[in-house]
């Protein structure tokens, strides 16, 4: 018994489950439209003048794919436009059909590495470590586990990078008497001269400018630099050289901040389960009933192009078909060619439309509008004031 595969019978009746993926099968609007789409496509392809070697499920498949393609283009555009706003957000919430607000999260994320190096925030932890200072010993090995203590990591094993060494002279402000006490700066004599010397504290009557303090501190620091051994250090690879040579009385430890190099080079600094790239931005299939008429028309046209392509492949599977006492060539190649052109055109059209709606494009448009408006205003006649 010969197999007779049915072809388009002239009408169809959709039932949920008839599409390959079933993404939209339970969408009421989809159910309302899918048979009309099949009918429209068949008629656009020449039915009932010519047979259409497709079945209703072929048209349903094309329709489903068209909606999915439309959604994919839309979601792709949204991801592109919002990627910087989406980095690090949760992958758990569906973003389809939702407005994504701008934020600096992604931008700051990018800048954090600079913050780390600059010592102003960042995403690498600054740990504290210390070296035990020995009297008379000027040079210290930072890999020495007996003299070096690290908050995290082991000296000599974990590569560290020292960010700051707390080896500085006492502040100059601590090196002279508080001017409000009035001593040490020769102000008492001045107060006596003015007749305030008998008051206690007589300095209550004295107002000194702040620059007097600053000048005094600068003088102390300059004096230390020029006349005394400076408090300094030299860091070279694992070796720390301390100035002046410690005598064991002024300090017994030198503290420092450091980072673990492994922390800095660790690329996985963010939380897991967050948006990391294009592939895990939580956009799902669009909801068909929410698509407006503009989008639906694009979907119809794309459905037709897909159906045409499918029909072309069917008709073109064999280059020539035998008929009684002859052979014929069907229009498969023409259909495929036309369909591919239509598909490319539709995709390009959709992409161009979406591109005009990017944040950047909208801002440029607003700027152009404002510029044009300003230009128009400049052409308005100026009012002449007659006094």
């Amino acid at each position: 018994m010969a197999v007779n595969v049915p072809i388009w019978p002239g009408s169809s009746s959709f039932f949920p489950g008839d599409t390959p993926f079933g993404f939209y099968d339970n969408d009421f609007e989809f159910q309302q439209e899918v048979d009309k789409i099949a009918d429209w496509c068949a008629k656009r392809l020449g039915y009932p003048i010519s047979d259409i070697e497709l079945q209703p499920i072929n048209f349903y498949t094309c329709f489903e794919e068209s909606i999915t393609e439309y959604g994919a283009q839309l979601n792709s555009f949204n991801i592109r436009d919002n990627m910087l706003n989406l980095f690090g957000a949760s992958t758990g919430s569906n973003l389809t059909g939702k407005k994504v607000s701008s934020n600096f999260g992604g931008l700051i994320e990018i800048a954090e590495e600079y913050g780390t190096e600059a010592g102003s925030g960042g995403n690498v932890t600054y740990y504290t470590g210390s070296i035990n200072i020995e009297s008379g010993q000027q040079i210290y090995d930072l890999t020495n586990t007996s003299s070096v203590s690290l908050e995290s990591g082991t000296p000599g094993i974990d590569a560290i990078e020292i960010k700051r060494i707390f080896h500085e002279p006492p502040p100059a402000i601590a090196r002279f008497f508080d001017p409000f006490i009035g001593s040490g700066v020769g102000t008492q004599q001045m107060l006596d001269a003015f007749g305030f010397g008998n008051y206690s504290p007589g300095v209550s009557f004295m107002m000194m400018p702040i620059y007097a303090d600053l000048l005094r501190m600068q003088a102390i620091e300059l004096n230390d630099t020029v006349r005394r051994s400076a408090w300094s250090f030299q860091l070279s690879k694992d070796r720390l050289k301390i100035f002046p040579i410690p005598d064991g009385s002024n300090f017994t430890k030198v503290y420092f901040n450091y980072i673990l190099k492994s922390d800095r080079s660790n690329p996985l600094k963010g939380n897991t389960g967050t948006i990391s790239d294009y592939s895990n931005v939580p956009y799902e299939n669009v909801v068909y009933e929410n698509i407006n008429s503009v989008g639906r028309q694009w979907i119809r046209r794309y459905t037709l192009a897909l159906a045409k392509e499918m029909l072309g492949y069917i008709r073109g599977k064999y280059s020539a078909l035998p008929i009684p006492n002859a052979e014929i060539t069907l229009n498969g190649a023409d259909l495929v060619s036309a369909a591919q052109t239509e598909k490319e055109g539709l995709i390009t059209e959709l992409k161009e439309i979406l591109d005009t709606m990017s944040r950047q494009a909208q801002l440029e448009r607003k700027q152009a509008e404002a510029d044009a408006l300003q230009s128009q205003f400049t052409k308005m006649p100026m009012k002449i004031y007659i006094g």
Binding site: A2, I314, K317, P324, A326
Partner: protein
């Protein structure tokens, strides 16, 4: 195991053929089946009084050759041959078997069939005779496309299909110069 020319593909070919032959081209010929039971023959199996069943309209593709004139001691005459190709599946569905001796009427002429062949296959095989298919070793592949008849124009006077020279010929059968 064949890969191409499956029953599904054959169905497509059948569908295209039906559309083309029955709907697009739609050339119909009248088929007169020889009634062997009603035809009396002599001891040699010859008969000058053949009887045919009533005509059936059947779509087919016709290749009509040019007329060839002949002249002999009986006067002028002409011969013509034609090829009539039918969709085999349609014939099968209607249970029609075309054989040599049957008559086809087309374009005002009657053609007596000289030979019948059905050897035009899609995918190179006829599923009815495909050993693998018929022994159940594989599915259905291929399709027998056509029944092709080679025929020649015959005199209608010998056919007893139309009444001739009775004096009450139908208007359409009158010679043009009368």
């Amino acid at each position: 195991m064949a890969l191409f020319g499956s029953a599904r593909d054959a169905s497509l070919v059948r569908s295209v053929n039906r559309e083309l032959v029955n709907r697009y081209i739609d050339t119909e010929v009248a088929f007169y089946k020889l009634d062997l039971n009603a035809t009396n023959s002599n001891i040699y199996g010859e008969s000058d009084n053949k009887v045919y069943y009533g005509k059936m309209k059947m779509p087919c593709l016709v290749l009509k050759e040019s007329k060839a004139a002949t002249a002999d001691e009986y006067g002028l005459d002409y011969t013509r041959t034609g090829t009539f190709a039918f969709l085999r599946d349609d014939m099968k569905a209607k249970n029609i078997i075309i054989e040599e001796g049957d008559v086809l009427e087309w374009d005002g002429e009657f053609y007596e069939i000289d030979s019948v062949s059905a050897s035009e296959y899609f995918g190179g095989r006829n599923p009815s005779r495909d050993i693998g298919f018929n022994t159940g070793e594989r599915g259905e592949f291929g399709l027998s496309i056509s029944v092709k008849c080679e025929a020649h124009v015959t005199r209608r006077s010998s056919l007893n299909i139309q009444e001739l020279r009775t004096g009450v010929n139908k208007e359409s059968n009158l010679p043009r110069n009368l």
